[in-house]
């Protein structure tokens, strides 16, 4: 076992883990943050995407021990507790960008990262290309693309967008 200390959703966390423990296992099993999902074993589906230092990372593809000192944001930490939803969460709800909800946390976290890199006015084609690493079997992507475009616009000027851009 080995110790790792990091920040998750703004809170300091220390855990003793088997060295082969993946970040997603640390989040789901040790911290009981089960909003981050596992959909595959080859880093294709993107259900496990979280933000590490503001950047999208597939948490199934990084060891927990590599995250020493890192700042991790999961779907549970995207909106302030008791505060309003994050604009991207709201956009997924408003645009019916989810059906079964399993890929959704990864989609939303990826979307926030797309906005950080590509800005607030996103063309459909850009969004579709940027979603290469996220698979959804339910929605046919149509409403996810709509949701991300709307969420990107709604994020203009919000705290998350500003923080991410820094």
């Amino acid at each position: 076992m080995a110790a790792v200390s990091l920040t998750v959703n703004g809170k300091p966390v220390t855990a003793d883990v088997d060295p082969r423990t993946l970040l997603v296992q640390l989040l789901r099993e040790n911290l009981r943050l089960t909003g981050t999902h596992v959909g595959c074993d080859t880093s294709q589906c993107g259900a496990c995407v979280v933000l590490v230092g503001g950047k999208a990372v597939k948490s199934c593809t990084v060891l927990a021990l590599q995250l020493e000192g890192a700042d991790v944001l999961t779907i549970e930490g995207l909106a302030a507790p008791d505060g309003p939803l994050h604009p991207m969460q709201e956009a997924f709800r408003e645009n019916h960008g989810l059906q079964c909800g399993y890929c959704t946390p990864g989609m939303i976290m990826t979307a926030v990262d797309i906005v950080r890199r590509k800005g607030h006015e996103l063309e459909d084609r850009t969004i579709r290309e940027e979603l290469e690493g996220n698979i959804c079997r339910c929605t046919g992507y149509h409403n996810i693309v709509k949701a991300i475009a709307a969420g990107a616009r709604a994020m203009r000027g919000t705290a998350t967008a500003t923080k991410a851009a820094e």
Binding site: C40, D41, T42, T74, I75, R93, Q99, E129, G140, Y141
Partner: protein, 789 residues
Amino acid sequence: MTATGIGAAVRRKEDHRFITGKGHFTDDINRPGQAYAYFVRSPHAHATIKSVDAKAASKMPGVVAIFTGAEVAADKISGHICGWTVHSKDGSPMKAGPHPALAHGKVRYVGDEVAVVIADSYAQAKDAAEKVVVNYGVLPAVVDPKAAAKPGAPQLHDIAPNNTVFNWHLGDKAATDAAFASAAHVTKLDLVNNRVVPSAIEPRAAIGEYDSGTDSFTLYTTSQNPHAARLVLSAFAGVAPENKLRVIAPDIGGGFGSKIFIYAEETVCLWAAKKVGRPLKWTAERSESFLVDAHGRDHVTHAELALDASGKITGLRVHTIANLGAYPSLFWSSVPTYLYGPLMSGQYDIPSIYVEVDAVYTNTAPVDAVRGAGRPEATFVVERLVELAARETGRDPAAFRRANFITTFPHQTPVLFCYDAGDYGASLDKALALADYKGFAKRKRESAHHGKLRGIGFSTYIEACGLAPSQAVGSLGAGVGLWESAEVRVNPTGSVEVLTGSNTHGQGHETTFAQLVSQRLGIPIETVSIVHGDTDKVQFGMGTYGSRSGAVGMSAIVKALDKIEAKAKKVAAHLLEAAEGDIEFKDGKFGVAGTDKSVAWGDVTLNAYIAHKFSGQELEPGLKEGAFWDPTNFTFPAGCHICEVEVDPETGNTEIVAWTAVDDFGVVVNPMIVEGQVHGGIAHGVGQALCERAVYDKDGELVTGSLMDYCMPRADHLPALKVETTVTKCPSNPLGIKGCGEAGAIAAPAAVINAVTDAIGTEAIAMPATPAAVWAALKKSGRSVPHAA
């Protein structure tokens, strides 16, 4: 229409938990003291099991127990069943071989469960499984369905000579042959319907738990139908008596058919939880999902269409070899038979049809229902044939279809179904306008101008949904009825819980079912809760598949609401001191006809429980009613999908540049959700048409065993989709609903391939039309340079 009633695009009640990471999927659940299961699977497609040596494995850290098929058999745990007995032409029942929960004596496909290793952690179980030594006697395998049926092929099951499960047929052979004998033109087509992997993004998972104090079991599982799981696990597998087994299906991350069935892992986790005295958890890795979740499709078909000189279709005959994999599965036999043959009339008035299906075992994963289940396969046959016939006889594909449409209803087809309502011309017209069909020639020229081959493809599909009238399916071999149940529990405060046997796994029942109740009772949608997925709460139900939850599940709720209203009127009559027959219920108020006297919903519900205003001997206190709804007919959603593609002749890459769908789903409860279902279905069908294919090598190894090898459609495989509806009310249920969940997957493959073949000018292309396949077809046809039309 009210703001939250039927027809309103109400935002989903269930979304909040999913967008905040607070959903409860099976793998999110942990039980105190739980151990973990990992399954040792056969690496061989066909072998005898000579011995299993678990000595070294059992000494590995954390190992609790290791069980093999011998222990399962010793405890008399039976295997999986097929719930539908299909009969061959000669009247003999299908040859269903045994499917033990853990393989015993023999393995029949790669992935077959041989042993289960139980340990304190998942990693320990997986590590120890590496040390289990299985001594196999490898046998020759057969994966090709045509080869499997030939004499001398490796035999999978003693009960099934030549690996033949059944030789089934439907329709009038003599009449159909006569139509072909007198035909002016015959169109012939050989096609392969590619094997697909269902690939819900949530892998299957199970937690078995045994309470020795009450001698009772609980199973948490990723199921589209927990009630059927409970019935099968008790009555057939013999794991636990039905009254001692609770099955909970929490949030389910998509199913697409694969989570209807009962598999080895759920059975073994439940059984072994008692053996080891601890809750037992198993979660599939994606590579396991590829190996053992039931696959779909996998047909080899020869089909022919007979036309008279005027272009009227006079006959259709089809011969299909269906690959059913290595073992029976729950709906297995019904998919290539009763969910396939009866769809062969499509939207067309065809006087004679004859369908033959030879079903065979091969050393591959079992093949069962995947989104559409039989109907995509039928639609692909019919719509490819019709398109090809139009091309061969120089007719416009839209006009050719229209000239052969059924136009009067009810319409009895020659293959069992009686279509109750539809207007196929209306959906075609609307789709032609939305797709700007008239402008296609110009767009094709423009594409040619920059070196691209443009094509357009139609699919005017029909499906049979609302599964299904119990007596009718029983007469065809189904082992169960396909009704649905509902229980409406009205609380004293007037809020309502609806318990339903329909089991949502992404379809939005918590919203649409609440819309129905909100409108009917005139109460806010927030005060309506939909309860499902727990056999301790919902007494029994038949689950969600076959686009049945609206047409069947909601009809059961309507029936229960009728009873609620009748009972509430009795209570209101006492409160209003009026005759029961004079009570009217409207907008959430009970009034007395011809007066301004009324009493609110909440007053009636409260008084139903307080029971002071009426005699408890004359009228039972409380307000709770249940109902079972058995459909009177299948429902027949139909529509027109038009796909437009551009093919790059240099690379063979196909880009879908436009998609128009006009579907008739009858009455639409929530257009936002219906459109979402259509989008998802189209993507599923596009995946099958352009990129998805499960491939086994000749030894039965699954070559496409991960998402790196099996191509799921991504966002950039698809354009924005134009999705609209036309409406003919379904006369066979109280709400007029037909169902929408599978339409896209049924319509799409034919539309795509019709468009691709139109673009490249050759019919010689099989699904999936990958860039390599299209490029090769173009090379072979010698038509690699676009020509301005």
